[in-house]
């Protein structure tokens, strides 16, 4: 019953019941991890070292680390009962601002984008938490706003800012430690820290509490619901911003078209990981499994070679539908 702290459904103890409900809860919580293991086994048997080679696994890890950052923030937002559609655009804006800010050194390339992203998250949070506007609409607006700003800063994409190769940031973005890319290590460190925050701190518990129903109970119990919401949106924007900075560091430039559809990919990873889109139940461990599963499937379809990469999304979409179907069935069964 005591699993890793990141994989717990509820912060104080996982939902358990008897027999079938317990099984259903297990499937919900660890389903993505189980399928991930199966897919990895299948991939290793089919493609051998072209899949399991260090180069390929490193590429998957690097690709997954950016999505993991975004999806970690998204997990907090969804658990609190919200949604953040702006993260893909925020990631692009962050990359552009990192490249723009690199003229003031690494500090400028990191602080400028994170400050702007934090501000966007603050606006999201205040409009949703204090003004009580719908998260979908508010973050749709900031999605447009941030993407537009990214294009404006780059003169409609015509002006490409380059991060100098000798900048500390570039070296960090491209460095490897023991064969693992530094962005991967940063993403993992952030993920572990987020796990501690979600499962072991007051704030984490309150995120779950605010995600119950529409936050009505949390308000009656005197929880600072608005403040909790503000914080999850700031966190989400900052993590998307961090992903943008790391991508810019790795590619030495920032493109305003970066991260299109990333918000949906992140939401898909969170939901595949067993977190309920209605909020209040889920885990970061599931999100990690969801992120890896999406990225491994993408990689395997690329390995096939004869399949167009468009099939990645066909498979991911099919998978998402299956997960939601299973979740709905389990939820119905548990209520009986």
């Amino acid at each position: 019953m005591t699993t890793g702290q990141a994989e717990r459904a509820a912060p104080l103890s996982p939902a358990t019941g008897t027999g079938r409900t317990r099984l259903a809860a297990l499937a919900q919580r660890h389903g993505a991890a189980l399928v991930l293991v199966l897919v990895v086994l299948l991939g290793s048997l089919t493609f051998g070292s072209s899949f399991t080679g260090a180069g390929n696994l490193g590429a998957i890890a690097l690709d997954a680390s950016y999505l993991l950052l975004v999806a970690t923030g998204m997990t907090f937002v969804i658990l609190s009962g919200g949604i953040d559609l702006s993260v893909g655009s925020v990631l692009a804006l962050s990359g552009v601002l990192a490249a723009y800010g690199s003229r003031w050194g690494t500090a400028g390339a990191v602080l400028l984008p994170l400050a702007v992203c934090g501000l966007i998250g603050l606006v999201n949070g205040l409009l949703i938490g204090r003004a009580r506007l719908a998260p979908f609409v508010v973050t749709l607006a900031t999605l447009l706003f941030a993407r537009g700003l990214a294009f404006a800063v780059t003169q409609e994409g015509n002006q490409v800012y380059i991060i100098p190769a000798d900048l500390a940031l570039t070296r960090i973005g491209q460095a490897n430690v023991l064969g693992v890319g530094v962005p991967v290590l940063i993403a993992l460190a952030v993920f572990v820290a987020a796990g501690v925050v979600l499962n072991r701190t007051r704030f984490g518990l309150r995120v779950f509490a605010a995600g119950n129903g529409d936050g009505h109970a949390a308000e009656l119990m005197g929880l600072p619901v608005a403040r909790i919401r503000v914080r999850v949106y700031v966190l989400s924007s900052l993590l998307a911003g961090l992903a943008g900075v790391l991508i810019a560091a790795q590619t030495t430039s920032g493109l305003p078209t970066l991260g299109e559809g990333r918000e949906l990919e992140a939401i898909a990873a969170v939901v595949i990981g067993g977190t309920l889109l209605t909020g209040g139940a889920g885990s970061l461990g599931g999100t990690l499994a969801g992120v890896l599963l999406l990225k491994v499937i993408q990689n395997l379809i690329n390995q096939v070679g004869t399949l167009s990469s468009a099939y990645q999304q066909v498979v991911s979409g099919t998978f998402l539908v299956l997960v939601v179907l299973v979740q709905a069935t389990l939820a119905r069964r548990r209520r009986q």
């Binding site: 509820a10 104080l12 701190t201 309150r206 779950f208 995600g211 109970a217 005197g222 929880l223």
Partner: protein, 249 residues
Amino acid sequence: MTPALAVRGATKRFGAVLALDGVDLAVFPGEVLALLGDNGAGKSTLIKCISGVHRLDSGSIEMGGVAVTMGSPAAARALGIETVYQDLALFDNLDPVANFYAGREIAGPRWLPRGLRLLRRRDMSRATGELLTRLQVGIADPHATVGLMSGGQRQAIAVARAAAFASKVVILDEPTAALGLRESRRVLDLILRLREEGHAVIVISHAMDHVIEIADRAAVLRRGRKVGEMRPTPDNRQAIVSLIVGGDS
């Protein structure tokens, strides 16, 4: 004796509707006060004003003789008032321990800034277990989320949560409305235990038998006004009922 809680001239208006019209109410430590009235009489509005959900348009609230303002549910809780709402306001997605402590978590160590302190789950778990034992509330599976529990268990958890943290006043809105016979019995016993422990208890109920059994005093509201107070006994049951529905009928 100073009342634990006293409301004077409570008036609350929602648009054109006068929900409360100069209501006076007092409840003493170790007393169960039943708040009676037909639907729309203003009972729920009154307790929501006391528990900080609504604000009074005019009138005052005193606790232990000192005037207080209930700016928010958190403010009322901080003053020692706990409320069991009709919908219970439980976190269905969390277990009983988290339901007890959400909003006043035990965390440490103290030298860390508040935001960085880690939850002391074992302490919270133990305190919850002790409280449930003291109140004789049996929970079949203390690690299950409360959304999966029976109506009686959920009600018991909500009442126990209020009992755990209320230092002065416990308010219960229709605590037995959705319960079966045996479950009602448990909740009534729980209310009596709160009285023994010296809490001032306000109960809204339509179940006259329960009121007669547990309440020391009954206050009747009709159309936002307090129309009478009485000792609820089997003998004046009829008198109370006619106060509720209107004297002349």
